[in-house]
């Protein structure tokens, strides 16, 4: 698959809901920050130097070392993509929104399956990321580590014996490693246990944020949990800590789901079927409503209330119904009202094609 296909296909490997613990854990991600010796960090980088870094990465991915260790990778400069296509990469979580500014300086490297992803000249010169479905943090780290090994044979990374890998922001220094899991926690939200859990996690040195949404109102009950500390621990320690916490959250969410369903069978079934009904028949629907209803529907699938809806389809709908993706599918820039109508149409078609 080329980048062209990446931006026109809502499906990504991390969405396929096949990974371990995928009833609660949507995806796992590992990101490592690396910088080249002898250049200012990206925020002070002029156009010429930004270009040199893009070339250096290009030659690294064409090297025998990378081809042998990692396989085929493709680099695209942001300027080679239309603004809509760039926005789609953001909606698919392959690049950060910061990459949309000063596109002349930035680029992205992707593997065909979109599992490996390198942002070039974001906050650091390289941000090597691996994204897999379910709880697969170890697998993500192994892969990112391999990519780093291959890159390192060609590129000189800034490294100090005491401080480790040097990064633009001191919060990333050391391992440069940020590991995260995306979790779907509807039952912990409904039973209002979520706030005390979030507080506990923060005391364990973990960061939690709502996905897509602002603040505590995590749209669609999706949360991202990641490590805060990057220095003083080994990569394995960071990964193991997060796995432990993720497994704990899986257990808590599952327990809450079962208890909730047992105590409030009819309200829960009603909520799930209403969500399904709205999604299947609505003629106009906002992005936030969609996310929340898809979350309810997914809970219904996980509790076996609604049969025959693949979880992967629900995730696909989440990506597909984001604003830029809708514009891309429609082939024109829609205004918000038109978008709500098109979104509803698309969801209807998808859900009707199942039965």
């Amino acid at each position: 698959m080329s980048l062209r296909e990446t931006v026109s296909n809502p499906y990504s490997k991390w969405l396929d809901a096949s990974g371990p613990e995928s009833d609660v854990i949507i995806s796992s991600r590992v990101r490592i920050a690396r910088n080249l010796v002898g250049y200012p960090f990206p925020h002070l980088l002029g156009y010429d130097n930004a270009d040199k870094i893009l070339y250096a990465v290009q030659s690294a991915i064409e090297s025998a070392a990378i081809k042998e260790i990692v396989g085929q990778l493709e680099l695209s400069r942001m300027t080679e993509l239309s603004p809509t296509e760039r926005q789609i990469l953001v909606e698919k979580h392959l690049i950060s929104p910061d990459m949309l500014e000063q596109p002349e300086k930035r680029g992205v490297v992707l593997s065909a399956d979109e599992v490996i992803d390198i942002m070039i000249n974001e906050e650091d010169h390289l941000r090597i990321q691996c994204l897999l479905p379910g709880l697969q943090l170890k697998e993500c780290w192994d892969l990112a580590n391999k990519v780093d090994d291959g890159m390192e044979q060609i590129l000189d990374f800034a490294f100090a014996e005491d401080m480790g890998y040097l990064t633009s922001c001191p919060t990333n220094v050391g391992t440069g490693l940020r590991a995260s899991v995306m979790l779907h926690l509807p039952a912990l939200v409904m039973t209002q246990q979520i706030n005390s859990i979030l507080t506990t996690l923060s005391k364990l040195g973990l960061t939690v944020r709502g996905l897509y949404g602002e603040g505590t109102q995590a749209t669609g009950n999706l949360f991202q949990v990641s490590n805060q500390v990057t220095l003083g621990l080994t990569e394995d320690e960071i990964i193991d800590n997060l796995i432990m916490v993720a497994k704990q959250l899986v257990t808590q969410e599952r327990t809450a789901r079962l208890a909730l369903y047992k105590e409030q069978q009819y309200p829960i079934e009603d909520r799930v079927w209403r969500a399904y009904g709205l999604l299947k028949y609505a003629r106009s629907i906002t992005s936030t409503d969609t996310m929340n209803l898809l979350s309810d529907m997914r809970l219904g699938v996980d509790l076996n209330i609604i049969p025959n809806i693949p979880r992967g389809l629900i995730m696909e709908l989440i990506v597909m119904t984001r604003p830029a993706f809708l514009n891309k599918l429609k082939g024109e820039d829609l205004n918000p009202a038109q978008r709500d109508i098109f979104r509803a149409t698309l969801i209807r078609e998808k859900l009707n094609s199942l039965s």
Binding site: F41, E152, F159, A160, C169, T199, T216, L233
Partner: protein
């Protein structure tokens, strides 16, 4: 100005809290800021990282917690980034900045990470002595374990290997 929360230590950080859609501005010392951040994680948008860093950097660079405006202008010889720029953006200008800004950096890292010593991956080609240092750390762990298990023969072997490596370091 004293910290709004403890009224004891000088304020270094501007802390914005959003409760029920109303913004509350506070000036805090870095200790209280860290505590507030931990407490308020339920309400996600809280402490501006850059302000936080600015507070820490100013504090450590000057050794004077109150006067942040009369800083001596230190800058990185390599990239030209000034201390004020680093404090404002929360970002270093280049990898040399870490050594150029000297003393302030280690305590800053300690404050952020609880440690200032990297123990993770070392680049194979350019890692130099760090590779050996890391191996020594691993071996020292194994040595402890061997002693605990009373495997003294194994322990002796590990100790020899550590000695070899320590010589290479000199």
């Amino acid at each position: 100005m004293l910290c709004d929360r403890c009224q004891k230590r000088p304020a270094q950080v501007h802390f914005t809290q959003v409760i029920n859609n109303t913004k509350k501005q506070m000036s805090l010392c870095s200790t209280c800021a860290a505590e507030m951040q931990a407490e308020s994680l339920g309400g996600l948008p809280q402490l501006n990282l850059h302000d936080f860093l600015a507070g820490l950097i100013n504090h450590h660079f000057t050794g004077n917690q109150i006067q942040t405006k009369s800083l001596p202008q230190v800058s990185c010889e390599k990239c030209g980034a000034t201390e004020a720029q680093v404090a404002k953006s929360g970002l270093f200008g280049c990898s040399e900045c870490y050594s150029q800004f000297g003393q302030g950096v280690q305590p800053l890292l300690k404050r952020i990470h609880g440690s200032s010593q990297h123990t993770g991956k070392v680049p194979r080609r350019t890692g130099g002595k760090a590779i050996i240092a890391k191996e020594i750390r691993i071996l020292k762990g194994q040595l402890q374990e061997a002693i605990r298990q009373e495997e003294f023969e194994k322990a002796a072997g590990v100790r020899d290997r550590i000695k070899d490596l320590e010589q290479q370091l000199q």
